[in-house]
């Protein structure tokens, strides 16, 4: 096989494209622009750390099934960690969102970074909600019976039945975590490819 043939292979093309768009020094940088000097920047990585904690505690809860935590003090503690990591996750994510909004972080060809971040936020809300209705306690009963009316009014209740524990649990522990992880991965890759948005340049002529 000639070199030209090798260069035309799908694998070769993909490798070239990945290395070109995301060289190692962009993927794992050891310097950053001096303007990245605010506490607001820590909330992105905090969100990811909390997501890791949510997944880790969720995996421990999964070991003995959805009702283990009602009868085990260890299970209840792990559930408490799951709950509080979710609260930290959303707190950090929302601060991150407002921070990025304040910086207009979509500038400079970063629109898709914003879009993936916003969609991740939505997927996370759905993941949190399905968790709340999968607790198999009074909270899950009440939240599910209240939420059904809103979802039913859109026609979605026919397919996404919040009163069906099995369906909600599967969305919570399989489909939505996959969505959240994939979207977060895409979001982070885009941040690494495009870098952190630079500050507004003041005293420039503004065009419509």
């Amino acid at each position: 096989m000639s070199n030209a043939q090798i260069e035309r292979q799908w694998t070769s093309r993909l490798r070239r494209s990945v290395v070109e768009k995301l060289p190692p020094d962009k993927l794992l940088p050891d310097t950053q622009p001096a303007y990245v000097a605010s506490w607001i920047y820590v909330f992105g990585v905090t969100t990811m750390a909390a997501l890791g904690m949510v997944i880790a505690t969720g995996c421990i809860l999964a070991l003995d099934g959805p009702q283990w935590w009602h009868s085990s003090s260890l299970g209840h503690f792990v559930n408490s960690m799951h709950l509080w990591s979710v609260e930290i996750f959303f707190f950090a994510m929302i601060v991150h969102l407002w921070g990025k909004f304040s910086m207009a972080a979509w500038r400079g060809g970063r629109s898709l970074t914003w879009v993936t971040g916003a969609v991740t936020f939505l997927a996370s809300i759905l993941a949190g909600f399905t968790g709340y209705v999968s607790q198999t306690n009074f909270d899950s009963q009440w939240i599910a019976t209240q939420a059904k009316d809103g979802i039913n009014s859109t026609g979605g209740g026919a397919f996404f039945n919040v009163l069906n524990l099995g369906q909600m649990l599967m969305w919570h522990i399989v489909l939505l975590p996959i969505a959240a992880i994939v979207l977060t991965g895409l979001h982070v890759i885009m941040v690494r490819i495009k870098g952190v948005v630079p500050p507004f340049e003041e005293n420039v002529e503004v065009s419509a």
């Binding site: 503690f77 509080w84 039945n161 009163l163």
Partner: protein, 315 residues
């Protein structure tokens, strides 16, 4: 060839300033450590709520009158679920805004007939008891007009229904077999058999609690417990959870609409709230592409606080 003009809300200036050392792995490790410590501390100090689930057994033992009244309404087809509409049945008025009514367009997908699903079928599965069998036969063989007459008599007597010495007393003689059916239904509920009957209608294995949850939600007992825990719609509803916990605080905007007119008073309030939230969600996702909205950050200048060192060095 004209040079493309710089759009400050779309384009970003090229950064030609200084770079500083940055250890991304160390930053990530510190974030993980902080989150682990913070999560464990919050879990140890505040724990998490776990109020036991309500069952039909606990409900009917705690408030037999409310249960029997609700069961009667399910039998008579006058309960909220019986008249809900899609996706459970076609008895109700679908929520809509103008000609938009996706609930109606999608139609019935989770068929619930409260008369049969909540009362007649569970009672029919009970071991043979002559009085129950006779009452069931009387109900099943009656014409719709006769059943409607019995239902009407039940509806009039229902506010005065009592439960004394393990018996449901309905002060009317015109309700046909309904008092007997409610007596057996209440006894079945108080024993716990109705809980089981409602989830096993589709076979041995089940993870679907649609029927018992809809039944429970039709009574006033369940809503009363929620009101005590500040969980009803007018108390910012489902974003809360039992006890003093933050709940789904991130749903505040969704829950907010339910507190204000016209959402709080419209018969299609749920649909209006969801429509509003869908529009706001689309605006959030597409913000970078919407002129005017994407200029807000530049105009409100919060970025000057974030990048204060950068601008101070420029001055």
């Amino acid at each position: 060839m004209t040079k493309k003009s710089f759009r400050p809300d779309v384009d970003a200036p090229e950064y030609k300033g200084a770079y500083v050392p940055y250890d991304i792995i160390k930053e990530g490790a510190i974030a993980v450590l902080v989150v682990v410590i913070l999560t464990a501390a919050l879990a140890l100090v505040f724990s998490s709520p776990d109020e036991r689930a309500v069952t039909i057994k606990t409900w009917s033992n705690a408030d037999a009158v409310d249960f029997a009244q609700t069961a009667g309404n399910e039998l008579a087809g006058t309960s909220a679920v019986a008249n809900y509409g899609a996706p459970y049945n076609s008895n109700g008025t679908s929520q809509h805004w103008g000609f938009l009514s996706p609930e109606k367009w999608v139609g019935v997908h989770i068929n619930i007939n409260t008369t049969n699903d909540f009362v007649i079928n569970p009672l029919s599965a009970q071991p043979d008891q002559p009085a129950l069998t006779a009452a069931l036969n009387e109900w099943k063989s009656a014409s719709s007009a006769t059943q409607a007459k019995w239902d009407d008599a039940f509806n009039k007597a229902e506010p005065n229904l009592t439960y004394v010495n393990g018996q449901v007393h309905l002060p009317t003689t015109g309700a046909g077999p309904i008092p007997v059916l409610l007596n057996f239904e209440t006894a079945m509920a108080r024993s716990g058999a109705l809980d089981q009957a409602l989830v096993t209608q589709n076979g041995f294995y089940t993870t679907n609690f649609t029927k018992p949850l809809l039944f429970i939600s039709d009574g006033t007992y369940f809503a009363g417990l929620a009101a005590k825990q500040h969980l009803t719609g007018s108390q910012w509803g489902m974003m809360n959870e039992t006890g003093q916990y933050p709940g789904q605080a991130w749903l505040w905007l969704y829950t907010f609409w339910y507190q204000v007119h016209p959402y709080s008073t419209s018969a299609s309030g749920d649909f209006l709230v969801w429509g509003t939230m869908m529009i706001l969600t689309a605006l959030l996702i597409l913000l970078p592409f919407i002129p005017g909205l994407r200029s807000i950050p530049r105009r409100i200048k919060i970025y000057r606080i974030i990048w204060r060192e950068h601008y101070a060095n420029q001055a």
